[in-house]
């Protein structure tokens, strides 16, 4: 409590002082719940653990407070407006600005007024509410928001045996509120005892939780989608159960519209709206300047031709909408061939689609044939890259799918590759993460587990296929059509990676964002389904798969091999991974443009790009070594050249102190160089000026 001051304006203007040495600071577990006779509407929010030593970290600024300065007004507003209440819950955040501090004390007033009970009692109530809402016949709406705020003060411990988990860990002793005590054991690496940090977790980031009890000591292990594992030790079984069930309820919200992005309001001013940044029309203007062979079709305006496609699609000029509809009926999910990439250098194109529905009796579709033949120059041939093996493609026939018969597509050559399907990829991720978290120090187990996960093989296969597609376009001067079964997973991996290889623009930050928007979001990769669970999910995978993560891994591999050719750095890729799985932004919600339109994401949520593209944020993601490289970059796909992406998979297991130091040093070297250049240039100018002043004296 003392952390937040007592509501006194003068005091509240300052950040709280660290608790006196030797004394562990107070902790508040606070939550608000309110029942309203509306439909169920629960807000997800952060689970936040904050240390006394550094309460202000960048994420703290993500909170929102209503503009109303008056506490009373605000409170009544809270009672009226459900969403505001959620804001309160979501963003009960310590912020360094005086305004927020005042609001915070307002919040405190309100919460005391509302609760009049100690937090744990209220927490119990909360979990009851959660259970109640689970029953379908009760029409109760619940506004749930939890903020666990634990002030951490690390206690110097050198006895490693006491650590609950493996190598890194520091034990924190934290008394909860007035009479409660909680022990928090943090698994992420901690090097020194003085290391205190603040931790924010989106509930959506929680992949699974486990409860354990030893006597009256309860332990909650929170496993996150970003692969972090956190262990909370809470004395008191009841409290532990309460917290656990709250976390579980909040992290497994079914309805998209209850997701945090709908309640999140940015503290920053949106200068450039990310929702408006990458509209298909703009990209088409670029294309128009290069070629007139293509047109924008509105055939899918109401998403009826293909629900997973966007409303505007780039198709060959000579193919009318009617033919498109017919071709769509011949392709899985209506995903008829559309333009993915135009290679400026030689005018070759890459298209993508879903598998043709040839079935067992070899159905054909003249319009489909005409459509893809329209992309070939006279006398030229093209390649169809089927991301499945021939055997898998054959099997697909039995289920109505299939592949292009060469008799019907004489101008095309088909190549089969072997990119795995989603459930195999998900299994692979689970195995890989298990291997990375294995605390045994045996060399043999590590390598064989890494091998058995097959993750690196998937990376190799995907990269190889992308290189092949790029090679056909750039080296062979041929057009390429890429498809797998549905055309929403491996197809997109291949087309997007091929563009990174071929197109220098995709290696810039804006270009890469545009690529993700174009080839993943607009192209209908079902993010919602694929990223519902990550490596710690216990249940049977439904349609979860780390397709996007594999793509990012492949990009990272290319980045490692061409460290000077990308405008962004590894952090950018990791950030995208995190946000694809759990985010305060709406960008990765929904499975297709159709769904996003229905959810009104662009009106109701903030775009990730609005945040990322702010100069303050971009700074973290810039590669200091970047030097534009206009060449095609061919990565090596040999096993010796492909590394494990430690930045993601060992992120929480290894100490990065020395690596961070190296990165800082790199930045320093480059900045110092630039500074010197500026100095030298200005001196040079100065001298030149003096020189011209001198010269009249010299000439006579």
């Amino acid at each position: 409590m003392e952390l937040w001051g007592d509501g006194d304006a003068g005091e509240a203007e300052h950040p709280p002082a660290a608790p006196p040495d030797g004394e562990v600071s107070a902790v508040l577990v606070l939550e608000q719940a309110q029942v309203r006779d509306e439909l169920l509407e629960a807000g997800s929010c952060h689970l936040r653990i904050v240390s006394a030593a550094s309460p202000h970290r960048e994420r703290a600024s993500a909170g929102l407070f209503p503009e109303t300065p008056d506490a009373a007004d605000w409170m009544s507003q809270l009672n009226r407006e459900t969403r505001s209440l959620t804001h309160l819950g979501c963003h009960l955040v310590l912020d360094s600005t005086p305004r927020d501090w005042r609001l915070l004390s307002d919040v405190m007033l309100w919460s005391e007024h509302a609760a009049r009970l100690n937090p744990f009692t209220q927490l119990k109530k909360l979990s009851t509410f959660v259970r109640v809402t689970a029953s379908p016949w009760m029409e109760v709406a619940i506004k749930v928001a939890i903020l666990i705020q634990i002030c951490l003060k690390s206690v110097a411990k050198s006895n490693t045996k006491e650590w609950k988990r493996g190598s890194g860990g520091v034990r924190f002793l934290v008394p909860l509120n007035i009479m409660e005590f909680a022990e928090l054991i943090k698994t992420p690496r901690v090097d020194g005892v003085d290391n205190t940090e603040e931790l924010w977790l989106l509930h959506a980031n929680i992949d699974s939780t486990e409860k354990r009890f030893v006597g009256s000591l309860g332990t909650i292990i929170v496993k996150c989608k970003d692969l972090r594992v956190i262990q909370l030790d809470i004395p008191g079984m009841e409290e532990c159960l309460n917290i656990a069930s709250s976390i579980e309820a909040l992290s497994t919200l079914d309805s998209v519209s209850l997701m945090y992005p709908f309640f999140y309001r940015p503290l920053f001013e949106v200068i450039e709206d990310g929702w408006q940044l990458f509209v298909p029309g703009e990209a088409f203007k670029d294309l128009e300047s290069m070629t007139d062979e293509w047109r924008l079709s509105e055939v899918n305006k109401d998403f009826s031709v293909c629900p997973s496609y966007p409303s505007l699609l780039t198709v060959p000029k000579d193919i009318d909408d009617e033919s498109l509809c017919k071709a769509a009926s011949f392709r899985h999910g209506g995903r008829f061939p559309v333009l993915s990439y135009y290679h400026k250098k030689n005018g070759m194109v890459m298209m993508r689609a879903a598998q043709p529905l040839t079935g067992t009796n070899g159905r054909r579709c003249k319009e489909d044939e005409k459509l893809i033949n329209a992309t070939l120059c006279a006398g030229k041939r093209g390649y169809i890259i089927d991301t499945r093996t021939i055997a898998v493609a054959q099997q697909a026939k039995a289920r109505g799918g299939g592949f292009e018969q060469e008799a019907n597509y004489p101008q095309w050559r088909r190549i089969h590759k072997a990119i795995e399907r989603s459930n195999i990829l998900q299994e692979s991720l689970i195995k890989l993460v298990e291997a990375c978290n294995d605390q045994s120090h045996s060399m043999d187990r590590w390598l064989s587990k890494l091998e058995a996960s097959n993750w690196q093989s998937h990376v190799k296969e995907i990269l190889t296929t992308a290189c092949l597609a790029a090679q056909c376009i750039d080296r062979e001067g041929a057009s390429v059509l890429v498809h797998g079964t549905e055309g929403t997973d491996s197809t997109l991996q291949v087309t997007s990676l091929a563009q990174i290889i071929l197109d220098p623009a995709c290696r810039t930050i804006r270009g890469f964002e545009a690529l993700i928007e174009r080839e993943w979001l607009q192209a209908g990769h079902p993010f919602q389904q694929r990223c519902a669970q990550s490596a710690y999910s216990n249940g049977k995978p439904r349609s979860e798969a780390p397709v996007f993560l594999l793509f990012l891994d492949c990009v990272w591999q290319i980045l490692r091999q061409f460290p000077c050719s990308f405008q962004f750095n590894e952090n950018f890729l990791i950030m995208l991974f995190e946000h694809a799985y759990a985010s305060q932004f709406g960008t990765f919600l929904g499975n297709s443009v159709t769904e996003r339109v229905k959810l009104q994401l662009s009106q109701k949520t903030v775009s990730l790009w609005s945040w990322v593209n702010r100069p303050q944020e971009l700074e973290r993601f810039l590669n200091p070594l970047y030097e534009p490289n206009n060449l095609v970059i061919w990565p090596s796909v040999a096993p010796q050249s492909l590394l494990l992406w430690e930045g993601v998979f060992l992120r929480w297991n290894r100490s990065t102190k020395c690596l961070d130091e190296a990165y800082q040093e790199m930045v320093h070297i480059i900045e110092y160089n630039k500074e010197l250049q500026n100095k030298v240039n200005s001196l040079r100018r100065q001298l030149a000026q003096l020189e011209t002043e001198d010269s009249p004296l010299q000439t006579p």
Binding site: R413, N653, L659, L687
Partner: protein, 653 residues
């Protein structure tokens, strides 16, 4: 030379290993010292030079339609495949090379014929470049507790030890002699590293001849004296780097290990590093894995695991960590031994030293460390590296493992080392090349008898001259975490495959741009800028006509440098796309494989001392693709070469 049956063969094809379709035709020459291949390139003159002493083995393969293949495996992990049109030529080259690569006498080695353009004084001076006496005094020796014993001046007590050895002042000559008689090959306990701050030491020896129950009073006194020379501690560690089983087996042969009951205040510890034979086989497996042609991920990872190589690196590292912690954290002295005390002992002592002392993380420091712990203490370089034709069972990659441990540490502590991996690879190359005299023979005595210093040159000044190539731009010696003890992690995932060493010559496997090279260039430019700045400031301070004139001339210089730093050095390597369709079975009717163009030129790399010219030669042979050279204005273009062509695609059917 009488061994050369065939000095020159025309129309030999050199096959690029990354793709058997990339072949270069040229002439093969055999000289007394090198194999030289000169390619018949249209405009570029490609040369490949390989020292005979670097050749590990030569294998004839079954003839193919284009000729008779000859495969040459080198000790620096280069693999060269020639195809020779005539069988007799092939056989002659094979016989000649087999003989040339296995010299029988030291006198045949290249270092005795290598004659750079330096005079006698300069050569002698090159041997003074490193001075072990200075190194010991850097450590703070001799001091009141430790001094040099003259006992081995004539190599009489121990012929594999150096002449000058540090022992506790308190031990008398009879004690040393007595102790040496109780140790294998007379290698009595002597100082390897002294920690100035807390007086703890690392000492080394060979195993005691204890058998099942033998004791030696002098040896016990010796250890007691070592322990007492560290006034701060009440005991010392005795570390036997062997697996316990091996040490016990040695007891039957009258050797063995120290009995804790017989020695006062020792703590005895086994570490469990395998012997040279296990290591040799392990590396052999590793080399096979590294040389696999387009392996699958599984083949590679399983092969890596089955080789056990990284496990051995880990155990060596762990031994080093144990000792360095004992010295730095506990302030306890350590005596290290294995069987003879010249393989595992050398490894472990030097790894511990690198962990303990930042000096050994500098270029000069690593040279000194190798000179001290390896060369002077009698690591049997000629046996272990197979310099001469001899017992193959004596060969073992002991020094490779030490260098790799250092590399693994560099991966974990990117700012702690002054040198980069090129330095380690250069040392590795020269340990095997017999180009310089440093690593010839098996002991100091042998080198003295052979007059190495009079007849050959020292490698160290040569490496020192190329210092700039070996610098790590990220080195931050002043950072507190880079001073003192390094505490590496030994989690399995921290041990990585050293691609730059084992696939050193497979250019297409390495990153096309190198961060470190890039940073090094920037740093060099920064230095020039600093000078420039100082100059300008000076000029501004003293302004007169004369200076205005020089200023005018300076301007041009600076302009030309502007884009310098953006040039990533490694991109000058040919960037060769791989066979991305590789391994695809083209059985199905509708399926076909991509084939690469037949006539691709191969890149060649010159042996060690001329690498730069070869890079320049081969940088851009293939690309005739005009668009690729077009580059954003004023920028250094990346001479990336993509030799991929799939022209055969349609013709195939």
């Amino acid at each position: 030379m009488e061994h050369i049956r065939m000095p020159k063969v025309e129309n030999v094809r050199l096959v690029d290993r990354s793709s058997s379709r990339r072949i270069q035709v040229g002439t093969l020459y055999l000289t007394a010292t090198h194999i030289i291949f000169v390619g018949k390139g249209s405009e570029d003159r490609n040369e490949l030079w390989v020292l005979h002493s670097l050749v590990c083995n030569v294998v004839k393969h079954k003839s193919s339609q284009s000729g008779y293949p000859l495969l040459i495996h080198c000790k620096n992990f280069q693999v060269i495949q020639f195809i020779i049109p005539q069988e007799s030529d092939c056989h002659n080259v094979y016989i000649s090379l087999s003989r040339l690569s296995r010299p029988e006498k030291y006198e045949e080695l290249y270092c005795f014929s290598f004659n750079p353009n330096v005079d006698k004084a300069e050569r002698e001076h090159s041997w003074d470049f490193l001075n072990l006496k200075a190194e010991y005094s850097r450590m703070g020796l001799p001091n009141k507790l430790w001094h040099v014993t003259p006992i081995n001046r004539e190599y009489r007590v121990c012929d594999t030890y150096p002449a000058d050895l540090f022992v506790p002042k308190s031990v008398t000559l009879p004690v040393i002699v007595g102790s040496s008689k109780f140790r294998s090959r007379g290698r009595f306990p002597t100082l390897s590293y002294y920690c100035k701050e807390n007086h703890a030491t690392i000492c080394r020896s060979s195993q005691p001849l204890s058998g099942f129950s033998a004791r030696c009073l002098e040896d016990e006194q010796m250890l007691q004296a070592i322990m007492k020379s560290n006034p701060g501690s009440r005991f010392m560690y005795v570390v036997d780097t062997r697996p316990k089983l091996n040490a016990m087996a040695n007891r039957a042969a009258g050797k063995g290990y120290e009995n804790e009951d017989n020695y006062c205040n020792i703590k005895f510890q086994f570490i469990g590093i395998e012997n040279i034979h296990v290591m040799r086989n392990s590396q052999q497996k590793l080399i096979e894995v590294s040389a696999l042609r387009s392996p699958s991920m599984g083949e590679f990872l399983l092969g890596l695991e089955n080789s056990d190589w990284l496990r051995h690196i880990k155990s060596t590292m762990e031994a080093g960590i144990f000792i360095s912690k004992a010295v730095a954290e506990e302030g306890v002295s350590v005596l290290v031994h294995c069987s003879d005390g010249w393989d595992r002992t050398a490894q472990v002592c030097s790894v511990a030293s690198v962990l303990l002392d930042p000096y050994y993380r500098t270029i000069k420091g690593l040279m000194v460390l190798i000179e001290k712990d390896w060369v002077s203490f009698g690591h049997k370089f000629s046996h272990r590296c197979g310099h001469l034709d001899g017992e193959p069972k004596e060969v073992s990659p002991v020094i490779d493992q030490f260098l790799e441990c250092v590399w693994q540490l560099m991966e974990q502590f990117p700012c702690a080392f002054e040198y980069n991996e090129k330095f380690l690879i250069s040392i590795h190359n020269h340990v095997y090349s017999c180009h310089y005299g440093n690593f010839i023979c098996n002991s100091q005595k042998e080198r003295k008898d052979l007059c190495i210093k009079e007849k050959s040159h020292s490698i160290w000044p040569h490496l020192w001259e190329s210092k700039l190539d070996f610098m790590n731009p990220l080195f931050k010696p002043d950072q507190s975490q880079n001073q003192g003890l390094l505490r590496p992690s030994t989690a399995p995932y921290c041990f990585k495959y050293w691609r730059r060493l084992y696939n050193r010559f497979d250019r297409e496997l390495h990153p096309r741009q190198s961060e470190l090279d890039c940073l090094m260039t920037i740093k060099e430019e920064t230095q020039q800028l600093e000078e420039e700045l100082a100059l300008y400031e000076q000029k501004l301070a003293v302004l007169d006509k004369e200076r205005a004139k020089t200023l005018y001339m300076q301007k041009g210089v600076l302009d030309s440098k502007q884009a310098l730093w953006s040039l990533p050095l490694d991109t000058s390597l040919a960037n060769t796309p791989q066979d991305y369709i590789g391994g695809f079975i083209g059985g199905a009717p509708n399926v076909f494989t991509l084939q690469q163009g037949e006539r691709e030129s191969a890149e060649l790399s010159l042996f060690g001392d001329k690498p730069k010219s070869s890079d320049a030669d081969s940088s851009d042979q293939e690309s005739g693709v005009a668009d690729f050279s077009s580059h954003s204005s004023g920028e250094e273009s990346l001479p990336t070469v993509y030799a991929l062509s799939v022209t055969a695609l349609f013709e195939e059917r």
